[in-house]
């Protein structure tokens, strides 16, 4: 009876969400003659709009010698093109009331512009100029090297996660380019050349290698007109060669230790899991929520609240084009040896693999997923970013609208099955971040 009540509740929530949120048919999608795909979602709640440009290039497209180049390239896209020279991209945009930022991941490079609707044509002009005619200036490259070295250093200085994840990735992956961090190796940042950058631009910055999402106080017809005027003349290029390296199956547990002045150990466990398009994605994503979403989650209640072994704990599974890692992370309480905390973390996941989870627990995380999706659609920024994410990682923006149903299909047996399938010792990499004085053995 209890189960039925939960199902009914979920049904009501789905109905309610469907009532208020946008429908798939509200998104207008079209492809320009040069292959650039554009999606538009009108939302007139504020007199602003945004433009997100998703490029299918990230650190997975790099190789030793140019690690970090995708991210560095992201920076260079702001440093001058044919019409708008160095500094003029930002100056022009900000003077028109707009702002921008960008981020690079293992899979994608994403640029975003946020602007009052009065600036829409300026934004198209600025973006078209740098996509068509980026002008790599040797002087700007040199000063940007300093900026990126500082970005790398400040991340390592301030984030324990950054320190340990670099090493865990490097150990977990033997062959696949996910083995290096997005920011790249210091020596590569210092040494890549203008030619490397030009090659990258010529290979990946083609309109047919991008997806553009625009949300806000726009008119679809006007966007089509602007897209045809500014983006369509940009010449398409050959599709970049696919990444064919597959990570061989892991043959036994791997362990790494990083010494750093920390007051208590930080522990990261990483397990190989499939890519986002894989059928197990939704079950794994719900498993992650069961482990660490909210204080009633397994990790918080067992590691932090009951045993007091950790002061904080979380799990994380990035969206990914190729098979990637599912991370478990915990920061030890004072006087707790890393081995003890590691054992308890493994115990939490093994308990799920053996005993499964309750119907109520599963329904809870399904409910949380729905509200989270809903929250992300509260802003025009969230709309563009989420639509783009689904288009790129799930293969179709419409999958965003189908996500509630996809989560709803997952059963407690699925959760148990994926816990058994992926969370075993042979498939794991363990990282310890500990103070040097605690590493004398």
């Amino acid at each position: 009876m209890k189960t039925q009540k939960h199902l009914l509740w979920a049904f009501l929530l789905v109905v309610q969400l469907a009532w208020a949120q946008n429908k798939a048919s509200d998104v207008v999608s079209f492809t320009l003659k040069n292959g650039m795909k554009i999606m538009v979602l009108e939302d007139h709640s504020i007199p602003n709009a945004n433009m997100y440009l998703f490029w299918k290039v990230g650190s997975r497209n790099e190789y030793p010698g140019i690690t970090g180049l995708s991210h560095f390239f992201e920076h260079m896209m702001f440093n001058g093109s044919k019409k708008y020279g160095p500094k003029m991209f930002d100056r022009t945009m900000e003077a028109a009331g707009g702002s921008n930022n960008a981020y690079t991941t293992e899979n994608l490079t994403v640029y975003s512009d946020w602007f009052p609707i009065s600036a829409i044509e300026t934004i198209f002009d600025l973006e078209a100029d740098r996509i068509a005619d980026l002008a790599l200036d040797p002087k700007m490259i040199e000063s940007e090297r300093g900026v990126v070295l500082s970005e790398r250093s400040t991340g390592l200085e301030n984030s324990n996660f950054r320190n340990i994840s670099e090493q865990v990735k490097g150990a977990a992956f033997l062959a696949h380019p996910y083995r290096w961090s997005v920011i790249g190796y210091e020596s590569d940042i210092k040494n890549w050349s203008l030619e490397d950058l030009q090659d990258y631009f010529d290979t990946y910055y083609a309109p047919n290698n991008a997806v553009v999402v625009i949300s806000g106080d726009v008119d679809v017809a006007q966007i089509k007109k602007l897209a045809i005027k500014y983006f369509e003349p940009i010449v398409s290029k050959a599709i970049p060669r696919a990444i064919h390296t597959e990570e061989p199956e892991q043959t036994g547990q791997k362990r790494v230790t990083v010494e750093k002045q920390v007051s208590t150990p930080n522990i990261m466990l990483a397990y190989h899991v499939p890519e986002t398009k894989h059928e197990d994605y939704y079950a794994l994503d719900l498993l992650s929520a069961i482990l660490s979403e909210g204080n009633s989650s397994r990790f918080y209640s067992q590691l932090v609240d009951q045993t007091l072994l950790a002061t904080s704990a979380f799990s994380y599974m990035p969206e990914s084009i190729d098979p990637n890692l599912f991370y478990l992370y915990a920061v030890a309480s004072p006087e707790v040896a890393p081995e003890i905390l590691e054992k308890e973390m493994v115990q939490v996941i093994e308990t799920i693999a053996q005993m499964g989870v309750t119907e109520k627990e599963l329904q809870k995380v399904k409910n949380q997923k729905l509200v989270a999706l809903y929250n992300s659609l509260e802003t025009i920024d969230g709309k563009s970013n989420t639509l783009g994410t689904y288009e790129l990682y799930f293969g179709d923006y419409k999958k965003m609208f189908e996500a509630p149903a996809a989560y709803e299909k997952v059963t407690t047996d699925d959760i148990k099955r994926v816990a058994q399938k992926y969370f075993n010792k042979k498939n794991s990499t363990v990282g310890y971040l500990i103070a040097p004085e605690n590493n004398i053995k």
Partner: protein, 466 residues
């Protein structure tokens, strides 16, 4: 990432970019209408109906911030605010968490310098389930001893953990330097010693003194029936009784009379993290908007003078910025950046040289126009969510921001001239006796900064700030 988002860095302390737009469509952008109710016990509540999504955001702000801590029990305000969710008369911590998690409701509670807050977002149909829990957390917390013990242990551990990141402690050193004896210098986390001396009964006492309906403000924003919501809030809070808070001695915030430097030694530092500044302004200063526009030019956007010089022109850092952190009785101003150990000297000199330029006429017509457009153009998304609207109303109440602030904003921004900008700069941007904090390798930094003021050195692992 191209640059760290400013929102992330300065978080809740200030609103950097507030503006309204000047074109036709943008002039129509207004905050939705509100209903304000003051109940007999003095509690003030703002209701704003927003039908766009079937969610409700509830926010309560109490006059129970870190400023009310005393030295011996520093950290008490934060522990009390955090402990509101550890159990009430009718609900245990586990019951609260299980109930709210199951319906996807999220809550957050904690203390900032000026006040403490409890906020929640939930689906509107769960209103009758969520509101009674929130009301109990606010009016009938019990601070169970076992939960307190666990929370206290975590808080003590976090003292050393936060000292692993310069960015998470640098403001504490700066505030201690600038605010000196004023309670705004209080450190939210306390020290290990002060935390050891706090018992669960202290939380109860602090709660009774500072969590009272008079002085508390709530905002409920979202998709709900106004009459029913007003009734529900009244039913839940009307019997909440007032206590008399202890008097707080008036202490003024004085501008420093001497340039001072604090160096915090971090033995394994890769870089030097720095803050340079002084006294700022109170949040309700009538020139606040003008100050924000000028600060946008100095260090509040990507093309700002500081970021342009230190990042774009010289590649010394990933980012440089400036900000005013404005509270009720006053505030601070600072410039912040970080750079590799070996470029520390060059970076400090260039930051100071760039700062000097605003006093030497760098704010010209073209730059000012661009900043005005920027501030106005970036405004509407700041008020797009229920939570942001709720925060506006509670901030307005706490800090004494006039309600016509939003309506007059566009005109105020537009009215700023180069001539007036000059007056604003002279009046509000600290020129002399700058206060500086550097976290990095002390042996390397000390010889470089003696010229900037009297120097005091701490170890980052030392559990003190002044």
């Amino acid at each position: 990432m191209k640059n760290l988002t400013i929102k992330k860095i300065t978080a809740a302390l200030l609103w950097l970019f507030i503006g309204v737009q000047s074109t036709m469509a943008q002039d129509n952008f207004k905050l939705p209408a509100h209903t304000k109710v003051t109940y007999v016990n003095g509690l003030t509540v703002y209701f704003v109906v927003q039908k766009e999504v079937p969610l409700v955001h509830f926010r309560a702000v109490f006059p129970a911030g870190v400023r009310y801590d005393n030295q011996a029990k520093a950290g008490l305000a934060s522990l009390t605010a955090d402990a509101l969710s550890t159990g009430t008369k009718r609900y245990t911590k586990a019951q609260i968490e299980e109930t709210l998690d199951f319906i996807g409701a999220s809550i957050s509670n904690g203390a900032s310098t000026e006040s403490a807050s409890l906020a929640a977002t939930f689906v509107n149909k769960d209103q009758d389930q969520v509101l009674p829990i929130l009301a109990e957390m606010i009016t009938q917390p019990v601070f169970p001893a076992d939960e307190f013990e666990k929370m206290s242990q975590r808080a003590i551990a976090s003292i050393d953990q936060m000292r692993e990141s310069p960015r998470s402690v640098i403001n504490n050193y700066f505030n201690a330097m600038v605010y000196k004896d004023h309670p705004y210098a209080n450190i939210a986390s306390g020290t290990k010693n002060s935390l050891e001396s706090i018992a669960a009964s202290d939380l109860n006492e602090f709660y009774r003194a500072h969590y009272t309906p008079r002085g508390t403000v709530m905002a409920v924003v979202g998709d709900f029936n106004l009459l029913a919501m007003k009734q529900a809030i009244e039913n839940l809070f009307v019997s909440w009784e007032n206590n008399t808070p202890p008097p707080t001695p008036a202490i003024s915030i004085k501008a420093p009379t001497e340039a001072k430097v604090v160096i915090v030694n971090k033995q394994d530092a890769r870089e030097t993290t720095m803050l340079i500044g002084g006294i700022g302004v109170a949040r309700n200063t009538e020139d606040f908007i003008a100050i924000q526009v000028i600060n946008t030019i100095l260090g509040g956007r990507f093309t700002s003078m500081l970021n342009d010089e230190l990042r774009v022109n010289s590649g010394l850092t990933y980012g440089a910025r400036s900000s005013f952190n404005a509270l009720k009785e006053g505030g601070t101003f600072n410039m912040s950046t970080f750079t590799a150990n070996e470029s520390t000297k060059e970076t400090i000199a260039l930051a100071l040289k760039t700062y000097q330029k605003i006093f030497d006429g760098a704010v010209d017509e073209k730059t000012l126009t661009s900043a005005k457009n920027y501030v106005k153009g970036q405004f509407p998304p700041d008020y797009e969510t229920n939570a942001a609207i709720a925060r506006f109303y509670t901030d307005a109440f706490i800090y004494g921001i006039p309600m016509n602030y939003i309506d007059n904003f566009s005109a105020t921004v537009d009215g700023l001239t180069v001539k007036k900008a000059k007056v604003i700069i002279e009046r509000y941007f600290p020129k002399d006796h700058l206060q500086m904090v550097f976290i990095g390798k002390a042996s390397l930094i000390q010889p470089l900064v003696n010229e900037y003021g009297s120097v005091k050195v701490f170890e980052i692992t030392q559990d003190v700030y002044q």
